[in-house]
Symmetry: C3
Subunit: 265 residues, 3 copies
């Protein structure tokens, strides 16, 4: 049984996700639908791209991932299906697929232009329902990707800000705030030098976050930095919201450096 995942900014207050599912099940009643996230902030392509990237690789091979955060719907942006060595991805060509694609061996990219695979009546404001849902359903039934439209060479890529090296550490920034108010940064675990492990401190907005292995390594309510479950450095308050209490925001600079004295946990 094929799986189609959905990542959108459509929320659960309206019928948008439900309508997409109805379209898919009408075309392929045997497919399995899985929600990744639907409360992506409205129109926040970067947040949608990050959420997709964090989840898609935990699904079985051959899964079809549909991501619709699409503020340019109906305009000139094109629409894509991408086949990689692991999975298929479907969505607008606005960068929402691009962070996941950084990790993938791309086999084919096709622009969605074959109207035979769209809903017969197509709106210009809801391609999730009228275009991406039926295309994903067609793929789940085995339609070859080349039938969907012409092959293209490239796609829109979101800028990914690589951290920079400083004297004894790294300078990066916050790229995502999660529901718990944790600030996920662009500093990847594998970018930490051996010396930093276990004796580093992150700083942002004049707060110092000692690097520990888990949230409760510090007292309740205290700042802490951890390598989070996405593999990136994350700024948190143990048992609280760092975004809420300290005003962390996406784009804020974060510095990771050696602690003066070694911390004994």
């Amino acid at each position: 049984m094929k799986i189609i995942t959905l990542t959108t900014d459509f929320g659960q207050a309206d019928w948008f996700v439900g309508a997409m599912k109805g379209v898919i099940l009408t075309i392929n009643p045997a497919v399995r639908l899985v929600d990744i996230a639907h409360d992506i902030p409205a129109g926040d392509v970067a947040a949608g791209a990050f959420a997709l990237t964090a989840a898609y690789r935990f699904f079985p091979r051959g899964t079809i991932h549909v991501a619709v955060v699409d503020p340019g719907v109906g305009g000139s942006r094109s629409a894509l299906a991408v086949k990689t060595s692991r999975c298929l991805l479907v969505g607008p060509d606005n960068g929402v697929l691009s962070l996941a694609l950084r990790r993938e061996k791309i086999r084919a990219i096709h622009r969605l232009e074959n109207r035979a695979y769209f809903l017969a009546e197509r709106s210009r404001t809801f391609h999730g329902r009228d275009l991406f849902a039926p295309v994903a359903a067609a793929l789940s039934k085995g339609t070859p990707i080349r039938r969907l439209g012409p092959a293209v060479a490239g796609f829109v890529k979101l800028a990914w800000p690589e951290p920079t090296r400083t004297g004894d550490g790294l300078r990066g920034q916050i790229v995502y705030l999660d529901r718990f108010g944790n600030g996920i940064t662009n500093i990847a675990a594998e970018q930490l030098s051996d010396g930093l492990w276990g004796r580093a401190v992150a700083s942002a907005r004049r707060t110092r976050f000692p690097l520990e292995t888990h949230y409760q390594a510090v007292a309740s309510g205290r700042p802490v930095a951890v390598i989070g479950s996405t593999g990136f450095l994350e700024l948190a308050l143990n048992g609280g919201s760092a975004a809420g209490k300290l005003g962390l925001k996406v784009g804020q600079p974060v510095r990771l450096a050696l602690r003066r004295e070694r911390h004994v946990p």
Copy 2:
């Protein structure tokens, strides 16, 4: 495999939807459950009716749609199952099914009175779990609708405010605000005269919204009117929330008229 959809105001913070699904799967483990929307504003029957209407017709024939926005639960309102030429609908007789039924050829309406199809222990505050879920599950197993209770002739209908014609246009109102802050009106695409297409402007709260084909036909942050994906005129801000920024509300009057000079996109 039969499909049961759920449209409720139960949210995702509590267990209400989960309990309904447990009841259904206990009775019919083979049914497929699909969420249409659960964050309908608490007790807002009109919003629930609108969401159901916007989504239900995208599901396969024979789908069973359960809608529970039910502020009168446990009181004197009755409960219904309705069979149409396309699908089955189940819910309280308070109007929540009535907008969808405007589009349907109704075959039978039955009042849910046969306690054999309810949970054995029935609360007076949660008919979603105790009555609508088991009845939908019974229908999904092929129980004939007439077993559920007596046939009735009518049902509670929500008032649907039809727009009125003016000199060169239409006067309507906002009937729904979606997650993006778009104000969906009661003015249907097919009610626009040929002359209005491509040269009309909507006005509400002293803001003018030129009628375009899609949101990004205007500059970022600017007001725009489009024919939305439900087939109704919709007032929006490109990339912003018209409800949030302009204070659009359900019930607000909207006027659609000819633009003085023809707009060249």
Copy 3:
């Protein structure tokens, strides 16, 4: 087909629930996933425990319930799988399973220590994905619970405040606020003396809530107490939010006593 339910505080804005589902489906593509609730307030173990308790017993026998409200993730709290005469429960040993277990005949409790059943790469901040999801998937494929780790005798129990008897009634407290702003108390229907039925009044924060059978037994906007669908006394406003309008909070004392004069509905 086995069912796995999920009760978490992970929300729908991020990818956490989606990643858990991907992990489960990779291990057991044939399992059926059902969401109980995901908007449990962040880190609120008691709310998660209450939601699980209110829903789990409506699922078929043999269902596997995963509950992850886990502020101590990565620290010293252990992780459990529990087998009862009805179902299996999986989660952190922090009390989140304990309210459901009060109702169950426990057959076996095992600490999750066998890394063969965890994801190969395990974070210290997201055991929902790395530990609870793969363990639940293993159980759904028939892995015996004893393989998961050593049997243990006990588990962390949340304090459940039993109401106390007063002269003519009961004194309890609010234990949960639901989406509608209803205050669910710890006073169970079966604790009401015969004399109280139909002639009692609850009081909290100087507001009197007459005990009725359903919300609409009082005028719109008026306070009312009912036996809610969880079997507990519940304080509400008909058509409004008692939490929002009257400031009800978890922990607030509630008194249930005889009404002076008998109420005629």
